[in-house]
């Protein structure tokens, strides 16, 4: 019964809750039990809020019993990436510098989850301040890929993808600055969507790069992602960059799952050399499945994408160097006094705290960004990167003249081993080569499982991109492809994942 609950999709859970076949408390407790059983080895969570989640569940059950009309996802539990502020719950963004910080306010998306009556199971692990593609840069230790615990679950949102892939939560919140929702989804056999920039409020998301960050859903099915997207999306007066328009009709599109007559653009620059053969094979099969369902395939060329990674690694560090300046030990977070200084100045305390509180990757990007914004270098670095950004948007605009959506492999490879790339930043950065252009241009993208690579038996992902504000196309195409793939596989891809050994010892709560 319990495993039955945790294996159910969010849509199925919602249905069973609605029919009162199960209670929200049962649904929540089942997931808390699953966390207790497997997260000692997966380590997806930094903080678990069993009490808070059960309190929400009880309240939902009472309200349902009282006949109140509830949100479709009321009582469906969710995990939240530790980058979103949660009132009264620790929020660290995976960093030592925020150890022990309890925010006094909820991020807008958390407010929306609470309003929908979704029990929040806890906060998921991530690369420190979302800088990374493996979750190895978390100050609290890596998360492990449920498909192979020796491998990375992607990053920065590896905690959210691993939690969902290992049935610890049916849904999770992720954030995507250069691929941090889509890449983890691809390497864990799950679904992750980065909405159009401005489609989901950033208020209360600890900023990495303000012009690139976007929160979105993490799930096991396209329909589930659409349901969560509908909850968290929409205009927020607290976020000036939020789009003042209704949420795109993502749920309707996911249900319709229709690609007949749609033009699917295969991006020439995102594939080929540098992509693992198994990743390419599964991608090509997926494209053929779309054709089989009545879509038309065209090839599009986006030549400026060759400069996307370089531009990204100037814009992101520049914004991050400024966004992370607030962590100075003056008002909150870690405070470290410099050694051997009797009467330290405020500046010395700031320096010592930042030195102790930030990890190497964060320091690397702060230094890069500080340099790129320096007078005399600004035009050559930040200025040029912004021009590349404009060129990439033009490439997308031209491509969307020819195609309704674009497709590519989500990542060049399947999940690599923990420790394999940790000392090679450039190799790490290349994981996001296919996902970064969407962030630079602000357009939406989704990743869904395309199969298992022949050479290693690990999940591969396909990315679908749509024009800004046309998020529904991701779900329409994604749901159609998903249905065809599941038919071919004879069930969801995740059913092929090895069973995790469960231990009753549970896991200590870190952070």
């Amino acid at each position: 019964m319990t495993s039955d609950i945790t294996r159910a999709s969010a849509a199925e859970l919602a249905d069973r809750l609605f029919r009162k076949e199960i209670s929200a408390v049962e649904a929540t407790q089942a997931h808390l039990d699953r966390i207790d059983a497997v997260d000692g080895s997966v380590r997806a969570f930094l903080h678990i809020d069993a009490e808070g989640a059960l309190a929400t569940a009880r309240s939902i059950d009472q309200r349902r019993m009282a006949g109140e009309e509830l949100h479709i996802l009321a009582g469906v539990p969710i995990a939240v990436k530790d980058i979103a502020t949660t009132k009264g719950l620790p929020t660290t963004a995976g960093s030592r510098i925020l150890q022990g910080w309890i925010p006094p306010y909820d991020a807008t998306i958390v407010t929306k989850l609470k309003a929908a009556g979704m029990p929040i199971l806890g906060k998921t692990n991530m690369d420190e301040f979302a800088m990374g593609s493996s979750t190895e840069h978390s100050a609290y230790g890596p998360t492990h890929n449920p498909w192979d615990l020796q491998r990375i679950p992607g990053g920065s949102g590896g905690g959210s993808s691993a939690a969902v892939a290992s049935y610890q939560a049916p849904l999770a919140i992720g954030t995507d600055t250069g691929g941090s929702i889509r890449q983890p989804a691809a390497v864990t056999g799950t679904v992750g969507c980065k909405p159009t920039y401005g489609g989901v409020s950033r208020y209360g998301l600890i900023a990495l790069a303000s012009s690139l960050d976007q929160a979105g859903p993490v799930s096991r099915t396209v329909l589930d992602a659409a349901m969560l997207h509908s909850v968290i999306g929409g205009y927020d007066p607290m976020d000036s960059t939020s789009i003042d328009a209704p949420v795109p009709p993502v749920l309707e599109a996911a249900r319709r799952a229709d690609v007949k007559g749609m033009r699917i653009g295969v991006v020439k620059q995102l594939g080929g050399d540098g992509y693992q053969p198994g990743v390419r094979a599964r991608f090509e099969e997926s494209v053929q499945l779309l054709v089989d369902q009545g879509a038309e395939v065209v090839e599009v060329s986006c030549p400026s994408f060759d400069y996307a990674l370089a531009a990204y690694y100037l814009i992101l560090p520049s914004e991050a160097s400024s966004n992370l300046a607030k962590f100075d030990a003056m008002r909150y977070g870690l405070r470290v006094l410099p050694e051997g200084v009797d009467d330290p100045s405020a500046e010395q305390v700031m320096a010592a705290s930042r030195d102790a509180g930030f990890g190497d990757e964060v320091k690397r990007r702060i230094i890069l960004g500080t340099y790129a914004l320096s007078s005399g270098y600004y035009d050559a670095y930040y200025g040029s990167a912004q021009k590349v950004r404009t060129l990439i948007s033009r490439d997308f605009a031209a491509a969307f003249e020819k195609a309704d959506v674009l497709v590519s492999p989500t990542t060049p490879t399947t999940a690599f081993k923990i420790g394999e790339k940790i000392n090679d930043p450039l190799a790490m950065y290349l994981n996001d080569i296919a996902t970064i252009p969407a962030n630079l241009s602000g357009i939406p993208g989704i990743s869904l499982p395309s199969g298992l690579a022949d050479e290693d038996g690990l999940p591969t992902g396909i990315q679908i991109l749509a024009p800004a504000t046309k998020d529904e196309r991701l779900y329409g195409v994604g749901a159609a492809l998903e249905a065809a793939l599941v038919r071919r596989w004879g069930g969801p891809l995740l059913a092929k994942a090895p069973e995790l050994s469960t231990t009753a010892t549970g896991r200590e709560v870190r952070a």
Binding site: P103, G204, I206, S211, E319, K326, F327, R331, S345, S374
Partner: protein
Amino acid sequence: MSTATRAPEPVVDYGEVLKKYDPVMGLEVHVELNTVTKMFCGCATGFGAEPNTQVCPVCLGLPGALPVVNVAAVESAIRIGLALNCEIASWCRFARKNYFYPDMPKNFQTSQYDEPIDFNGYLDVELGDGSRFRVEIERAHMEEDTGKSLHIGGATGRIHGADHSLVDYNRAGIPLVEIVTRPIVGAGARAPEVAKAYVAALRDLLKALKVSDVRMEQGSLRCDVNLSLRPKADDAGAQDDVPLGTRTETKNVNSLRSVERAVRFEMTRHAAVLNSGASILQETRHWHEDTGVTTSGRVKSDADDYRYFPEPDLVPVAPTRERVEELRATMPEPPSERRRRLQNDWGYSDMEMRDVMNAGAVLLIEESVAAGATPAGARKWWMGELARLASVEGRDLADFGVTAIYVAELDAMVAAGRLNDSMARQVLDGVLAGEGSPVAVADARGLQLVSDDGALSAAVDAVIAANPDVADKVREGKVQAAGALIGQVMKEMKGQADAAKARELILEKLGAS
């Protein structure tokens, strides 16, 4: 607050400065807007609240918080630009100015950099002799204020040497407009006067626009004075070709009087440095109100790198031309017209009006009259006793504790016969001593002209009885002898009698009226 840690720097006589040098000034004025809420969040902006009670995640810079532009502040900034004859940007952005400081919550200030909302303007100011001087405005841009640090312990009240510091973030995020002049050249010997007149004119203009409280003593209008000297050209016509000298920036010169004094001091100090053959260090200077000198602050160089970049959390500000024109229609009357109107309304002579302007009292008199004072009464108090007391205290008239409403109250009491002038002066002393409003002071001190005829009549009777010889002289028609009796009556009444009334009663009782 004074630092007496080093010997005062040498200066030369002011007259000597001008024989060899030509002063060039640049004035940067920060104006706190009086919007109900802060620049980027919904927090209240009231002055004087308990520390850290007007704060939220946004103005505290908590992780995850985002700014949203206060439209009212943008419109105030546009109106300031229009009043300063500026062009208004049709599209401009905020930028982040990055530097670390404990009272700056995000360690960057959201400001504007190369895209100010207002640019290319001017303000004409009138000088003491009635002549006009045009100060060109380079730009006015929007930004947010920082928190306020209070350094406890240490000798200087500054951060270095302090035992610990307290930070109040109520001020963090208050909307500011920074108004920057182009280099002010050609003022010559009148540079200090021009600086003061400019800040005074700006203050009056901002007050008329109703965009700021412009209280210099509370910091809602703050002035930084840049000054440099360059050699005086042999031919006055060639002065503009002489390159500018190295400048110093004297921070937080926060009264009109201090603006004038700081310019004058820096001119005499620069000249002394240059005369000695040394060169001026480009640095910020601290102004010391009490001693009237500046002392060296932080060495500043053009290499200061704030790593400005467009604020990615905000969308560009793009006021429509229609809206700008609507705002233009809300402009108050131009300063020169306003001055003519007021002079006419008040019936002041040219000389009286100029004195009032030079004393920076136009606004105070206007407010006093609006509060019920007679124009003559308002001028009498502001330009007389209050100007004297302000000068003794070394403070600006506007900033030393007597409000326009109090002056109106005082004037009304005199006009109603409750106080005479000498009593009114005592009341002012009480007001300045913090004893409350004029009515409260008069009540508390028992200052009241006796209008009770019974008491006065009894006093007159007693004085007549005690001075039969003088009384007889009055009865005989020597009316001027009544003066001695009036003096006695006033003494008897402890000064609280209406002398005219006493005289009337004495003459009546002695049958001399």
